[in-house]
Amino acid sequence: MIKTDALIIGAGPTGLFTAHQLKIIGLDCQIVDNLDKIGGQCIELYPDKPIYDIPAIPECTGEELTQNLIKQLEPFKIKFHLNERVDEVKKDKNNWEVKTSNGTKFITPNVIIAGGVGSFEPRKFSLKECEQFENKSIFYSVKNKKIFEGKIVTIFGGGDSALDWAVEISKTSKVNLIHRRDEFRGAKATVDKIHELAKSGKINLFTKYQISGAKGSSNLESVEITHENKEIKTFKTDYILGFFGLVMQLGPIANWGLNLNKKTIEVDTEKFETNQKGIYAVGDICTYPGKLKLILSGFHEGALAARACFKLARPNEKYRFEFTTSSKTIKNRLGVKSD
């Protein structure tokens, strides 16, 4: 059981700056994120897209913003728990007991949800019959590529993940690559490689097709695909891989007894606290009259939520407002010399 003053859910820009604000005022915190890397939507959805409305930064990409926020957190040595989704939040007297998908447990008076639009999950085939084969013969990510050796693997998708795995797996298996249109959106070198492998017969390429059936008993045996013009093909396959990017889902947050408004969490604008004492929501996931879904709003909300955390984490101390320009205490925390 990890004890901390505040637990932040979500390592996007808002979560990162909220951690900064907590550490500045002398509280410790840890961050959990379902993705395998820090940065949230900025990294997952638009790492290369320029952002023009971060105060004092005329232009920066999602990746640059994330790198700078990580740099700003460097003095604090924050513990990140990546690849973990928070599944349970339960009241335990004056604390919250939090459990992740990996079984990590936290006990904390403050939980700050900086979850964006929810957690990222792979988009799955919409076909009902795919469910029974999921994690047995149908996968949405590759954990152990060895299982594919010498087998027939049918890959769906047109982006880098689909193409990279098609190239890689074709070295040891028979690969069918299926995409709903002729153009691929992967890196040019990879796309060229795919066409080369298709020419030499290493990969069977089917474009303008989509999945329309998956059959088998306990194991998957065949897959059916349908062309734009309704023509149907069926062939044997041992495995199916689907790479259709990630979708955002509110997930378990919906079960924590919070007041929700569509897919957002209602908060007050003093502490950014939800209807549950000690649970806050900041950034895109929170809503209140006048809410703007801008990164800068997330920074403001996180700064105020951090101050609210102080009361519950240090009930016997009084919070004193200080500036980073002049406070010796803060400079010590930052590890910089005071004048």
Binding site: L45, R123, S126, G159, R181, E183, V247
Partner: protein, 106 residues
């Protein structure tokens, strides 16, 4: 104002007047039409404002934006007439546009 008709997957129709200059996505969100999530808020970074444009309308719309098809690859059940409604700007030119909403967005 331009009339746009949104037809939910269950057949329920919503015909509303949308201000010119907004997108078809914004028209739906501002009028609480269920079935358009628009998680990313219109930055073409998700595919949760996905619609099917009624056949004869598809060719009358402006061409898809660069990268739109890449996002549609990641939509729920994309079809030939799929568009992201955040990339269709409302103007007199599309008076009477009919879009069908997919069964779901995620």
């Amino acid at each position: 104002m331009t009339k746009i008709t949104y037809i939910e997957h269950n057949g329920k129709e919503h015909t509303i007047d949308v201000q010119n200059g907004l997108t078809v996505m914004e028209g739906a969100v501002q009028n609480d039409i269920p079935g358009i999530d628009a998680d990313c808020g219109g930055s073409m970074a998700c595919a949760t404002c996905h619609v099917y444009v009624k056949d004869d309308w598809y060719d009358k719309l402006d061409e898809k934006s660069e990268g739109e098809d890449d996002m549609i690859d990641q939509a729920y059940e994309p079809k030939k007439n799929s568009r992201l409604s955040c990339q269709i700007t409302v103007s007199d030119k599309i008076e009477g546009l009919i879009v069908h909403l997919p069964e779901k967005q995620v």
